[in-house]
Amino acid sequence: MNSAASSPLSGASRSFARSLARAAAFGLAMIVAAPAMAGPASVEPEESMLTTLPSPKPSWVFLQRGVALPGTTVFDTSTGKYVAQIETPILGDLAIDPAGKHYYVAETVWTRRLHGTRQNFISVYDAHTLTLEGDIDIPGRILVGNRERDFVVSDDGKTAYVYDFSPISSINVIDLVKRKFVKNVELPGCADLIPNQGVGVVSLCSDGSLASVNLTGDKADITRTDPFFNATGDPVFDDVQFDRTKAEAVMLSYSGLVYTAKLGAKPVVSAPFSIQEAAGLRKGETRPLDLNWYPTGHQPSALHRASGHLYVLMHAGEFWSHKDNATEIWDLDLAARKVVKRIAVDGGPNVINVTQEPEPKLVVLSDGDGGNTGYALPGTAQVIDPATWTVKFNLRDSGSGLIQVMQ
């Protein structure tokens, strides 16, 4: 990597040195890193170096390697190059510090792999060295893959919220400045956390409402909007899109209804419109047998904040096929309520995201890639330029699940 800086490797610890001397005494041959003391040689021996990273860039994309292999790969969509790997475990959640100084990973491990004591914590990594600065223990968290709204950081970067389902539904609040767990707040019947700056979080509920959880006081105060969607008949996808600067959330239902909500102490939800109608087609039904274009995937839509364009993975099929692979990407101008472009896409993606650069790049991937092995191994992500609708790069061995970007 061109942007990487290097620093010499620090020396081994003293206790290790002792163990080494003991090993040597017992007849073991080995090479120890030792450039400084090297005697005369025909070739100058090399030093082992460490590599560091710049702050996360808006052109970077973070791809979870899936449910078979741990780790999140980072690629630069400007160059198509691999940048680094962030240590997310399987079913772990990554959140990026809005200031770009840290990566936070919410994870769950047993002390002895498949037994022992369950531990839930947030690992804090320095964004430049990717070294672990420490853990913040929390009481629990939901175990589910491919969700961006189970672990979110407030817009000011000071507070993290972790969704828990144990099977009691609740929110864990974490102070990222003090690196301390603050409190657990029960959240009956709701899930999916959207940071609501100055208030707390907003959440989707199974009665079809949005709950606003006010966490400013000693006691959490939860208020709900009127129900506006049908949580069992036409659910909105967990994958709520959120524009921090406008404090606006965009929700998409299985049938293709697009809702927007203005966040705040009392969120206000707009009347929905149909993405199919916005494309000049008839509205999506909520029953099988009727063929139409439907949104699809684990991460079916991506909002480019600056332009107000929502990119949606779509497939032709029946209702209740909301996990099918996409065959088209629709480019929806939210303000105009118009699908301005429909583009065929290869590889059957079911996750999509868009970089928040002035000239954005789309990244799509088939969650569950990895050839015909069925193992959801890292596959090939496509970087698509929505200005020209051409594939700029194919990122090989990149991800097999959630795609994240700098907000």
Binding site: V67, A68, L91, T108, W110, L114, H115, R118, I142, L143, V144, G145, N146, R147, F165, S166, P167, S169, P188, G189, C190, A191, D192, S203, L204, C205, S206, D207, G208, P227, N230, A231, T232, G233, P235, V236, F237, D238, R287, P288, L289, H298, G317, E318, F319, W320, S321, H322, K323, G374, Y375
Partner: protein, 179 residues
Amino acid sequence: MTIFNADSFGETLLRRFAGGTSRRGMLARIGAALVAAPVFPVLPVSRAEAKPDRSPESKTMFARNAQTTDDTKCNYWRYCAIDGTLCTCSGGGIHSCPPGAEASPVSWVGTCVNPDDGKAYLIAYRDCCGKAQANRCNCDGTDRETQIYTQQLNNDIIWCFGVKNTEYHCSTAVLVGAA
């Protein structure tokens, strides 16, 4: 607006377990972890709206193509809302965990149509837990499958609760009763 209408999911269970019992009594029995019971989010289920629709129009693509003979195939009728590795391919059975795996007493559910009698049945997808994922016969049925704010109808969550270790091994499809 319908608040909860996952077919007759609610109705059935109310019929089977609640009967003349009060809601309070029902909770007490859940407390003893002896019975199954749905307790609905915010509003009690509307019985009228929860009636199962058995018309051909209600049949999903899955239901129209399901079979009842081979429970190691993804199109076996009970798998209409399953997600994961089949225990039937992994040393277990349709309602048995493989050796060393522990069945979660709590599960998500589906309402699947049995093509032999055309009737809808309530299926509890009970995960077998505490072992590394078997990764044999992976299936993903999505009939009436929702998002995680309606947990009991979401099949992405690791449904391993009340077990020693929540590592996911495989999923069973236990017949609970007629829907």
